[in-house]
Amino acid sequence: MRAAIMTVVLAVSPCCALAQIGNPAGLAPDTSMEKPGVPAPHQTNYQDRLFVQLITAGGRAEIEFGRLAAGKTSHEDLREFANRMVDDHNKANEQLKSVADKSKIPLPEGLDPDHKNIRSDLEKLDGAAFELAYLRAQIVDHQRTAQLLAWEIGSGEDAALQRFASEKLPTVLEHLDLARTLHAKLAGQALFAPDTQKAK
């Protein structure tokens, strides 16, 4: 169903499939051109390379935290959300890796220090406190990811990476919306029915 919607949207807006045209003031100095004005494929500027590092690390964290949350929570909606994070970010990271490989951008290993800190905080929590903390982290991470994707769309050079960013942004905003809605719901429950949350 979702795939069907995407095709409809693409069909009525041929514009979305068109290549990005950046501000050449931000091109890497050693860019070679396919034809005048059009960088040859898989050439990157500093923004592309930083983008890949930050998004890969972020995606990895979503997967790890998602697994953690799916194991720890007893809340059905939250488990569903956490599993969706694991799935969606797994797919996205694989897709990103295949683009990054072609553009010869090495990927970071493991979690970055900030996400390691978050993980160790999350591991200490349980029950409602864990669920809320997990969702708060998800909200911030998705806000950040949306910012990074828009940044790549505006400042990147590698068209394949920019297309990846454009394609993912609506989904990331949808995840953000889900996380905000769930957080509002669980925060309300934690405040007004703390006992039931705690008992489970």
């Binding site: 501000n23 059009v38 703390p194």
Partner: protein
């Protein structure tokens, strides 16, 4: 009560320590601040020029997929100066198989989920979103070139809308201090070369000095002397009235100074300065509270995208508040709306002069169409408020069109409707080409379910304002 508090506290505490860690997240250093160019001017210019045909063609493609751009003047209806015809009909293209009434019968969710929102209702991208900046229409470039020998032409982009969908040029000027004179522009564009001769004796010394400053070019983000410019020769810059031609608008556009990152900044169509004296809030997002504030700050915003750092590098002009700003504001404050002979002192139609269709339109405006709830006739058809029309109920946010990411507009101030036939394109970003489009837009967004005859009457009424 206290039980809840006791149990709630550790939760909140946990969340608080947690936030501290998140706050140290690394983000790129150039998300807020504009990066310096990584290449010399000549290399950037060469690439920009090579890209220009593709940029132009891509924007043309987007415009043509969204709108019917044809030149179809409304018979017998001209803008206030009598120089340009008002365009008829609605120009936003409908998705296949839909009509305006079939769309209006659907829920916002259905329209969003099935991708049925007419694309012309979406935010309109800048012709080159990644670079952004001021873009002037051909008529302005030509006139300033001829009169002042100053170059307003960019080497990377051209103005993207056809001439017949922009305001008349040069537009007439009406003064609150001299209603008996009518248009005092002499059919010409005010420039630094002619303003004294044209205005001598009509305005005061203080207004004259304000006018001089409004016509004096100052460095601007794309028009300056650094390698980070988009004009071929080192430029002395841009004047306020290069966009606000004759205190109206020529349709010049740029990107909002109020939003980052770049890809999410929305386009801004130059607003008219007519009737500024009655407005309590200024700017579609900034809600500045006085003409003085806006005049002073326009050097930071229209000129430098809300980036005072870049401004410092390129040579910003900071007008002196008690002297220069006050005079510039006082000149702007005597610019009147064009005459609306059919309106009475309450802003209501005079039944003795208005047609039956126009009167029906006013009834729709004040009644079923609900327009008058925000566009209050006795307050120059404004309410001095900002409103969130929540258009994002109708489309999936975050999609990219020509490098612009469509995010919700959020609250935007209610624009005046006085003299509205003179200032296409419409809405803050100029996404609607005709008054007919605005009627379809508001009918859908407000869910007012107007029928065809009510819509026609509404357009006829808007033309009288």
């Amino acid at each position: 009560m206290s039980r809840i508090f006791n149990l709630g506290l550790p939760v909140l505490l946990g969340a608080a320590t947690f936030t501290l860690n998140v706050a140290s997240d690394p983000l790129p250093p150039d998300l807020t601040y504009r990066p310096l160019p990584s290449l010399p001017f000549s290399a950037v210019k060469e690439t920009d020029e090579a890209q220009k045909p593709a940029v132009t063609q891509r924007q043309r493609g987007l415009l043509e997929s969204r709108y019917d751009l044809a030149d179809r003047p409304m018979p017998g209806v001209m803008m206030s100066g009598g120089r340009k015809a008002v365009q008829e009909g609605s120009r936003v293209k409908l998705p296949a198989g839909e009509t305006w009434s079939s769309l209006a019968a659907k829920t916002p969710q259905e329209i969003r989920d099935r991708g049925l929102l007419p694309q012309g209702f979406l935010p309109l991208p800048h012709v080159k979103q990644a670079a952004g900046g001021q873009v002037f229409p051909e008529s302005e470039i030509r006139e300033i070139g001829a009169d002042e020998g100053r170059d307003l032409r960019r080497f990377d982009v051209d103005f993207d809308l056809p001439d017949h969908l922009t305001p008349e040029f040069p537009p007439p000027i009406f003064l609150t201090t001299h209603p008996e004179l009518g248009d005092v522009s002499r059919g010409d564009l005010l420039t630094i070369r002619n303003f004294y001769e044209y205005m001598n004796g009509i305005i005061t010394p203080v207004q004259m000095e304000g006018l001089r400053l409004l016509l004096t070019p100052f460095p601007q983000e794309e028009f300056n002397q650094t390698e980070d410019r988009k004009v071929a020769m080192q430029s002395t810059g841009v004047a306020c009235l290069d966009c606000h031609s004759n205190f109206h608008t020529n349709g010049a556009f740029h990107l909002t100074p109020d939003v980052r990152p770049q890809a999410e900044r929305f386009r801004l169509d130059t607003t008219s300065l007519r009737g500024l004296f009655n407005q309590q809030i200024h700017g579609s997002k900034r809600s500045l509270r006085s003409v003085e504030d806006f005049t002073e700050f326009e050097q930071r915003t229209a000129y430098f995208n809300g980036d005072h750092v870049s401004a410092t590098r390129k040579g910003v002009n900071l007008p002196d508040r008690p002297n220069q700003v006050a005079m510039m504001a006082q000149m702007q404050n005597i610019i009147d709306f064009p005459p609306a002979p059919k309106l009475d002192p309450f802003g209501r139609l005079d039944p003795a002069t208005a047609s039956a269709l126009e009167i029906k339109g006013e009834q729709v405006f004040m009644g079923k169409g609900r327009c008058g709830e925000c566009h209050v006739p006795a307050q120059s058809f404004m309410d001095n408020n900002m409103h969130d029309l929540k258009l994002e109920r109708f489309y999936k946010v975050g999609q990219t069109f020509n490098d612009q990411v469509a995010i919700p507009d959020g609250p935007i101030k209610t624009f005046t409707l006085r003299g509205i036939k003179d200032s296409p394109p419409y809405l803050h970003d100029g996404r609607l080409m005709t008054l007919g489009d605005t009627v379809e837009f508001f009918n859908l967004v407000l869910g007012t379910k107007l029928d065809q005859s009510e819509k026609e009457a509404l357009v006829a009424y808007l033309l009288t304002l």
